[in-house]
Each structure stands twice: as C-alpha cells, then as structure tokens.
Symmetry: none
Subunit: 146 residues, 2 copies
C-alpha cells in the first residue's frame, strides 16, 4: 500500500480541531497517532505503527549521551498521543498550535509514513518549483525515479 500522499487545505476551527483527510484515516486501522514538533517549521503526525520505530531510535541515541538526552526530552515533552473523534478530527493543543504558527487554514501534507501539518504561508515559501533544486539534488531525484 502506498504511504500518505497529497496536500490538503483544511480549516482549524475555533476549538483547535482539524479534520484528517478521509483517505488518510482509511490507511490506519487503530486510529492512534502521536503529534509532535521536531522541526521548527511544522508539526508531524505519526501513526502509531511508524512511531514505534522513531521511539526505538530515540532510546538508542540518548544512551550514554547527555546532550542528546536533553534534546529529546524537549521534544517528547511537547508530544501528545491523539485519537480522532467520530467526525475524524484531532485536537491540536494550544502550545503546539502556537509553536507551528497555525491558525485558520492549514495544510495537511502526506510524507509517506507520516503526515505533516503546516501553516500554508510557510509551506509555500519552502516550496521550490520543480526544477529549481541544485544539480546534486536533481541527480538524486533521477536516482529515485529512474
């Protein structure tokens, strides 16, 4: 099965809820996610299945590494486990909403094994038109798609 794909523009309502695309919901069976911010630009929503791998890598990397341990603590402190309501919406805690500058319209972006939640302005700024990348990256893309 293909992973999460596409870019959807949805509304964040006054209670801080966003719908998940019905297509995404159909792809996960247990309806459990972990929402967190590990990049400054956006939030990331992991299905529980993908989260398991992340968690394993975190436990390994923080072993015997105090600096890494402190960094990961800051990330996990702001992470939440979320579950969509019967209408398929998840609640975004106020802290994370502010951290990612979300309000009003948001993009839900599929990134294969995870879903990203973006402020539309930030996402569009970050978008290189196809063909704008460096030569090195261009070549890598051809390595992927052949």
């Amino acid at each position: 099965m293909a992973g999460f794909l596409g870019q959807y523009e949805y509304q964040l309502d006054q209670k801080g809820r966003v719908s998940l695309p019905a297509d995404y919901r159909r792809r996960v069976d247990d309806n459990r996610f972990v929402l967190l911010q590990w990049e400054p630009t956006h939030l990331t929503l992991f299905p529980m299945e993908a989260w398991a791998g992340v968690q394993t890598r975190m436990l390994e990397l923080r072993r015997n590494d105090p600096a890494m341990s402190r960094l990961l603590r800051q990330i996990t402190a702001r992470a939440v486990e979320v579950e969509p309501d019967k209408q398929g919406r998840i609640l975004i805690p106020a802290r994370l909403k502010e951290a990612a500058d979300l309000d009003g319209a948001v993009y839900l972006v599929g990134a294969l094994d995870r879903i990203e939640i973006w402020d539309p302005a930030r996402f569009d700024d970050a978008a290189p038109a196809p063909g704008d990348g460096s030569q090195e990256l261009e070549n890598a893309v051809y390595e992927i798609f052949g």
Copy 2:
C-alpha cells in the same frame, strides 16, 4: 509481458477525468496507481507495483539528509493515489492539472514501467528528431539496440 508503449491522445473532461487506454488497463491487475509530478514538464502515473520501489528509495535517501527530505516533501505533496472508475477513467486533481498545464486534449505516453501524461504542445516541442542528439547519446542508443 512488454511494458507500457505508445502515445494516445485523449480528452480531459470538465470534471478533470481522463480515460486510460484499455490496453494499459489490461496490463495492471489491481487497478491502483500513484499520480504525481516529479519533472516540471509532465505528470507521471505509476502502477502500484512500480511505485513500491520508488517509495523504498525515497525512504532510504531522505534519512540523514535534510535537503533531500525537504525536496521529497514537495514531491509527495504533489502526489495522489488514484484508482480508475468503472469506465476506466482517473481523476486528475486541479492542482496537478494546472502544474502540468493540462486542459482539453492530453497525451498518454507509455514509458515501460510507467505512464506519462503530457500537454500535447509541450510533448511535441520536447521531441528531438531522430539523429538530433549528441554523439554520446547516439552511442548509448546503439548500446541498447545493438
């Protein structure tokens, strides 16, 4: 079985749908495709079987490489999983339609393991007459057809 071959001119109807050539449909059994834009000139339609390999390479290459991760995010955002309806048509999202400058007539072009969707004018412009390529490319052709 030979891969996808040929060039068909079809109509994009007012709802944004295109028929797939019946010949192509017979070549895939599960009727599931991924449609995306990874080259600026056209859209690419991967049968799920071919997509699986692409996705695996994407997951590998983006690990430990933030620049690649950003680039791939923009590509997966412009992708959709599509499934032909009972008439054998797929729906092309408005965003992709505009990105590839599609409207009215389109070409469906077979490229072995994938299908490309082109604006006819762009495709004809991009066509080199046989013999126009560099010497290096000429030689490569002889390596293939020998």
